[in-house]
Symmetry: C2
Subunit: 374 residues, 2 copies
């Protein structure tokens, strides 16, 4: 299968990221841009070195402003609708690195109406439950509460709705039809929604009464929302938000599509999974680039490029390039067996989750610190 689909609501197929870059009209992160970032960060995050974050919009503008002393703020988010899995964490971990490295504010949006509006059976009781759960995962990653602001659409609509109206006045039905594929049978809340997703890109500027550049780290499927946002914000007197975009963490089943909570739950590793569950999922479901017998594997070697366990190490769990290269070489040569590769991943994931789950428990008493004062 060579076809693929990437929209804010569906990711499927074998994604050709080069073609996607062209389709979406984003820029690839090239060496020159990475060097420029490195000037300010001294070290490059492994997700940049390995092009897990592979594309951007307007990073040149953002760094120009930064170098003039005009600091940016970060904006990312999560639409509460289910458990957080490793695929969600990827851009958030990178966002935390950006916050720490550049010492900037982060506005984290929880659009708790989005899934309610777009999913038939979803109730606000459900999104409220998942909002509470999902906030714990974000806090557990260690964001600084002094510089991190949770923006919850239904709770903070008093701040957001008026600004969303300004955006929506510039968006016609034709535009959401062509951008998101909405139709005559779409509900009017879903039609309005993208205006709410635009708001965090300029709300901090409204509140500060001066323009602050915005950088949105996000998975590339959200680009259509922000493309529309970028078209409109200058008309309202605001900067276009810059963005830095990552690929998808694949599901356990193989390197096509993205890890998703809505597909079969054994295809995703959730932050609340036990060590036994992780072990079982990886051993049983993680697609392997190995050969069918040990002898054949020793002789022909494995293919790390399609091996999900290797990809998780590359994208999330092995920051050390040398160690990763060693694993790559050993697996490719046949020196390392699939079971051994999986064992490395399982250990890494469980070590991460042990800490994450402990922080998640502590996070319960910290939520208040992240909420907008009313």
């Amino acid at each position: 299968m060579t076809g693929f689909k990437v929209t804010p609501w569906e990711v499927s197929g074998n994604i050709d990221y080069d073609r996607l870059v062209q389709q979406f009209g984003v820029e690839k992160l090239n060496d020159a841009m990475l060097e420029r970032i490195k000037k300010h960060t001294s070290d490059l995050h492994f997700m940049l070195r390995r092009r897990v974050f592979f594309a951007h919009r307007d990073m040149k503008f953002l760094l120009d402003e930064y170098e003039k002393g005009n600091k940016f703020f970060l904006y990312t988010g999560r639409a509460p609708s289910g458990s957080v899995h490793l695929g969600h964490l990827m851009p958030w971990i990178f966002t935390k690195w950006l916050q720490d490295t550049f010492n900037v504010e982060l506005w984290f949006q929880f659009p708790d109406e989005e899934k309610f509006l777009f999913k038939q059976g979803m109730k606000f009781e459900d999104t409220q439950h998942w909002l509470n759960e999902n906030m714990l995962d974000v806090i557990a990653l260690g964001f600084d509460p002094k510089k991190t602001h949770f923006l919850i659409d239904t709770r903070d609509a008093g701040l957001m709705y008026k600004e969303a109206c300004k955006v929506s006045k510039r968006i016609t039905f034709s535009m959401v039809k062509s951008t998101f594929g909405l139709g005559n049978d779409s509900n009017t809340g879903a039609i309005f929604y993208t205006a709410m997703q635009a708001v965090p890109a300029f709300l901090p500027s409204v509140l500060a009464k001066k323009e602050i550049p915005c950088l949105i780290p996000h998975a590339v499927d959200q680009d259509p929302h922000f493309r529309l946002t970028r078209d409109i914000l200058p008309k309202l007197g605001h900067y276009k938000p810059a963005s830095i975009q990552c690929v998808f963490l694949p599901p356990l089943s193989g390197v096509e599509g993205k890890m998703s909570a809505s597909s079969a739950s054994e295809q995703a590793i959730f932050t609340t999974d036990t060590p036994e569950m992780v072990k079982k999922k990886v051993n049983k479901y993680a697609f392997s680039g190995g050969q069918s017998t040990i002898e054949e594997h020793r002789k022909k070697g494995g293919n790390p490029d399609v091996d999900v366990s290797y990809q998780y190490l590359r994208m999330l769990f092995e920051p050390d390039d040398k160690k990763l290269q060693q694993i790559y070489d050993d697996y490719k040569s046949g020196k390392m067996l699939t079971g051994e590769l999986k064992a490395i991943l399982i250990e890494k994931v469980n070590a991460f989750l042990k800490k994450h789950q402990a922080e998640r428990v502590k996070a319960k008493s910290k939520i208040e610190k992240f909420l907008i004062k009313r």
Copy 2:
């Protein structure tokens, strides 16, 4: 001209209210219903006696519930966009009578985004200005702050947006297209808007955690909004709101259309007009049912049915039926001249405005009492 048009955004032509009743599918207020209302109010407001309020939906249900001890609340509103004129006051004066007579709560909505979304050149700075001005007019009418709650859409979106999302999930683009004539080039805020107008019809029930019947006194052009609201609310577990609907106060130019702030300002009498302005407007612009010469008038008599001054007395300024009848007879017989009729109206309007303007000044310090606590 026999054609007419009545939508929430346009009222024009010689309105045939009987045909409108059929078109909209509302019920006429008949004698039996007025008698039933009178059982609870001892006296009938002149706007009921004279069928200025002429139609309703579900008054039977509302009174059934009331007689069972299930009190209703009132909901009406004003989209801030300009000065308040006499046409706006008509349903509000009646609403105050309902509040006083039935001793019930009133939720008064100020949808300060509506005109922003529907009018090209309207800015939020403008609607904010008119919001402040318009609140003074409502307060000046003497509503009880203990039982009256101002719901301002952008300010109170923290209470309203989530509820509006629930409504909007049940409204498709096709529905707003056919109900309001919106199209592909309509903006997404305008498409979403009617859901916000639905909210006050059930928000008090949400806050009270029990169902409270709702009665909406309003001019008949707003019926399409509430027709949609009535279709949807039962699906959300709420009562359909009842409504009681009035005709339009005509502009000074004649009994077609409605008094409107957006048409030429000499066609409307504003609450901030000076006595001189009122005198000039009535004398110069108020369409007269009189004859062209005094002699002819004495002989043939005037026509009070098309005389705007008489209609203002009938609809707003002369509560005494006997006095009104006397004016009718005298004008019709030719005993009363147009100038004399106009003088009566001018005196009534200016007496009313003198008190209203004094209350309007005092109202500035009372606004806070009417706002929702946050």
